[in-house]
Amino acid sequence: MRKNNYLAIIFFILPIFLISAAVFSQELPRENAVQELFQNSQEDSEEKMTIAYVPRSLDNPIFLDAFQHSQEKAVELNVNLEWVSPFVYNEKRQIEIIESLIEREVDGMVLSVNNTENYIEVINKAAAGGIAVATFDADAPDSNRLFHIGIDNYKAGQAAAEGLLDYLEKNEIDYNNPEQKLKTMVMTGVKGAVNLDLRIDGFRDKIEDTNITIIDLIENQDSVNLSVELLEKYLQDNSEIDVIFFVGGWPFYVPAAALPNFQNWAESGGAAVGIDLFYDALLLQQRGLIKHLVGQDMAAMGSKGLESMYNYLKYGTVPEEFIETSLEIAEEENIEELLTKHQPWRVK
């Protein structure tokens, strides 16, 4: 009889025990997974200098070279690198991000901005707060930024114009006949961006004595999607245009199939030249749709810019106010080499 009681108790208690164990064994990882992860996290933390890069947007692949090389340089210098920006260019959001960096008291920041009042104000605020501020790609010379690193944009504009003139000459298109003007459209990001305005100035000055006449200036708000839309629409309405000067490479980040009007126009004799050199743009040049490309050394903007800022913060080495990076010219002769050098930025 007593033996039966023990069996009955075991019979009831054992399943309860097993069920409880099963439940708790499921609960424990769930309760602890994130906490464990946090516990591991504290072991590697150590005080590092933090330098933030703020490109104009994340969706513009032109900055990927700078991003890659600044990261590599950051590892080399043992610097915490932050690369932050709104995904799509938005002045207000970009300034909010700069404000948050000020709030978080980063050691330095390298910005691609416009020389406008709002940007100048936030740069000066950061500088006044003891944060070293530099600019890359696009400058705000009227602000209290420490230095600017980038190409000589005026020269880049001239180089693009020279490439155009070479093409016209090679193809025996008379660009000096005042009776037969070559109508030209210029696509830029936003007016007031010093770098872009300088490129236009360089281009304009180079073609001053020719019959190449700028009749339209279109702003795409630094948006890749908008640039494609505006370009296609423009060519649909103005197929008689002779020349297009792309101040930046915005529309060429999309596949060529997404630019049917542009393809037709280019294949029908339209001459397109531009600044910014990357894999997709080189493919278009290889196909003859773009006649001449001038590239910036974005990698140097990333690595050298970071190093200059680091040296300033670490050693107090004040860099030159303008650090010029070189231009890269894509021509028939070096196009294959450049296609090897510049990797596609999309995942296949």
């Binding site: 946090f38 933390s45 692949p61 991003f67 932050e82 909010e96 930025w345 999309r346």
Partner: protein
């Protein structure tokens, strides 16, 4: 004191009048059912309305709970990534510091996260965070203070999902972060995948326009506020929390609120609606106002009707009362203008009839009084006959001549009393005692004059009648008739008996003489004349009997008066009946 005050008030508003009583009656009859009906209707409807408000509030918090849980489940789906190729590559290449190959994955992740942000309003950011605080999100690559996040974590019913309290994100925006661990097969390090939800989303989810002062707030299971329209409340413990948020009425900032809550098992949050009682009960207040307005309106109508009806009904009665009062003040010229055929009109007609009747009776009474005075005067005249006075005075002179001074003195005294009692100071009514004395004086004088040819006896059986009043000069004319028409014509000595007694509530006198008597036909004629069966033109015929009889009938009615009985040559009995119940 209160009784006195109440009486004063009651007197002041003439509560004793029929009009006031009618008004009160009408008001009670009209108002009581109406007030009871209003009260019951209001209570029933307000009860139903309260139930509806409560159900509506409950429905709203449930709806917020559903929307909130749907939203959180959507976010959870974004976080529930398993072995995402791009994320895995990114983690592996990041750990290897292979920036050249990593950048396309980073770009892809940025695009991916940005697309999710565009798809889900309120999703402020999605991020992958390494254990050292490095983070990739739709804003790029940056570092966070991972210890700070750790301190804000708490869990709930969602599997492997952690929540943070509201905090400022990278862009200094107020967000709530959902985190979970992302396990990767191709790298050593597991990472966190997280989503920042803009606190404004909670504002949108709870943005029901159900009043200016009404609002929602959200608190965690310990009552700590996660969302509140007043931002300074966020992060603090709600003082409405007490092992949960029980549905009840609460007072906050001098405002009554209906607190309704529900608990979301999924998020571990309490969703609380604070509905301004004043706003949600606006309908109830409207109902109250309508009820009060209608009640007052009906009250006024009932009061006006009560006054109108009371006046209509009581005015004829008031006029009747006024006329009656005038009539009671001797103004018998009053007359009510009667209109209608109702009971009050009939009462008015009866009143007019009564007044006419009173006027007639008064005229009749005046006539009767005049007749009475005349008969009295005639009786008095008949008594003070000159030859009675001369004979009596001659008798007194004779007595004096015969030196019968004492007798003469008695005679003078009797004569004086006789006349004094006859006049009785002009009074109409005299005590029977004095009337008997008067008759005795007369009999004394006459007995002396006639040489004691008869004797007389005065027998009053019931002495209590001696103090009763009767018209004066009732007995003397009858006694005089007994002497002159009964005793003196006979040759034998006679006897005159005067009896007085009380019988059947009437006073009776009998004057009996043992004289010559009266023949039967004559007796019949006399009684017929006295009863009015026959009339006589001769005013002097039976003058004494008729005078006394008419005076008694005028004063005491038809039952009073004289009857004559006689046995010829034996006796005559004249019975005087005074029925004091009759007459005026």
């Amino acid at each position: 004191m209160f009784n006195k005050l109440f009486k004063n008030i009651a007197n002041g508003i003439e509560i004793h009048t029929i009009r006031t009583k009618l008004i009160i009656s009408f008001l009670l009859i009209g108002l009581l059912p109406m007030l009871i009906f209003s009260f019951l209707s209001y209570n029933i409807y307000s009860g139903a309305l309260n139930d509806r408000i409560s159900a509506y509030s409950q429905e709203m918090v449930k709806r917020v709970e559903r929307d909130l849980e749907d939203y959180i489940l959507d976010i959870e789906r974004y976080l529930n990534r398993e072995q995402d190729f791009y994320i895995n590559q990114f983690i592996k290449l990041t750990q290897a510091d292979d920036f050249s190959n990593n950048r396309k994955y980073i770009f892809r992740i940025w695009e991916d996260f940005e697309n999710l942000k565009q798809m889900k309003p309120g999703l402020e950011d999605i991020a992958i965070t390494f254990q050292d605080g490095r983070r990739i999100s739709s804003y790029g690559l940056y570092n966070i203070d991972i210890e700070n996040i750790k301190n804000m974590l708490y869990t709930n019913d969602l599997e492997n999902i952690y929540f943070t309290h509201p905090h400022k994100n990278y862009l200094q925006k107020e967000v709530i972060t959902l985190l979970k661990t992302y396990y990767t097969d191709i790298a050593e390090e597991d990472v966190l995948i997280s989503a920042d939800i803009d606190v404004d989303v909670l504002a949108n989810l709870t943005d029901f326009q159900f009043g200016e002062k009404s609002y929602f707030f959200i608190a965690d299971k310990n009552g700590r506020i996660i969302f509140h329209p007043e931002e300074d409340k966020i992060g603090k413990r709600s003082f409405f929390y007490s092992n949960g948020f029980k549905n009840r009425e609460v007072n906050y900032n001098d405002e009554e609120y209906l607190l309704t809550s529900t608990f979301s098992e999924l998020t571990g949050w309490h969703i609380i609606s604070m509905a301004s009682a004043r706003e949600v009960k606006a309908e109830l207040n409207y109902l109250t106002e309508i009820t009060i307005f209608l009640t007052v309106l009906i009250l006024v109508i009932i009061i006006l009707l009560a006054f109108y009806l009371s006046n209509s009904l009581s005015e004829p009665i008031r006029k009747l009362q006024e006329m009656s009062h005038k009539a009671s003040e001797n103004d018998l010229s009053v007359k009510i203008d009667v209109s209608g055929k109702d009971e009050i009109a009939q009462l008015g007609m009866s009143f007019n009839k009564m007044i006419r009747r009173i006027n007639k009776l008064l005229e009749q009474n005046v006539r009767e009084q005049k007749l009475l005075r005349k008969l009295e005067m005639e009786s008095l005249d008949n008594q003070i006959k000159p030859h009675f006075i001369y004979n009596t005075l001659d008798l007194i002179i004779g007595l004096l001549e015969n030196n019968k001074i004492e007798e003469a003195s008695h005679m003078v005294e009797a004569l004086g009393k006789f006349f004094r009692l006859s006049l009785s100071h002009g009074k109409e009514m005299v005590l029977i005692r004095n009337e008997i004395k008067h008759v005795k004086n007369y009999l004394f004088i006459q007995q002396y004059r006639h040489g004691k040819e008869y004797e007389y006896i005065v027998d009053i059986e019931d002495l209590e009648i001696m103090d009763k009043h009767i018209p004066k000069l009732i007995l003397q004319p009858i006694v005089e008739n007994a002497i002159y028409h009964g005793i003196l014509p006979g040759e034998k000595k006679g006897l005159i008996i005067i009896k007085g007694y009380y019988k059947d509530k009437s006073i009776y006198f009998e004057v009996i003489d043992t004289g010559v008597g009266i023949k039967a036909d004559k007796v019949r004629e006399i009684n017929d004349v006295l009863s009015g069966k026959i009339e006589t033109d001769d005013q002097k015929k039976y003058f004494g009997l008729r005078n006394v009889d008419r005076r008694l009938k005028l004063m005491y009615g038809g039952a009073s008066g004289l009857t004559v009985e006689s046995e010829f040559e034996e006796k005559t009995i004249v019975t005087i009946r005074i029925d004091r119940r009759g007459g005026n």
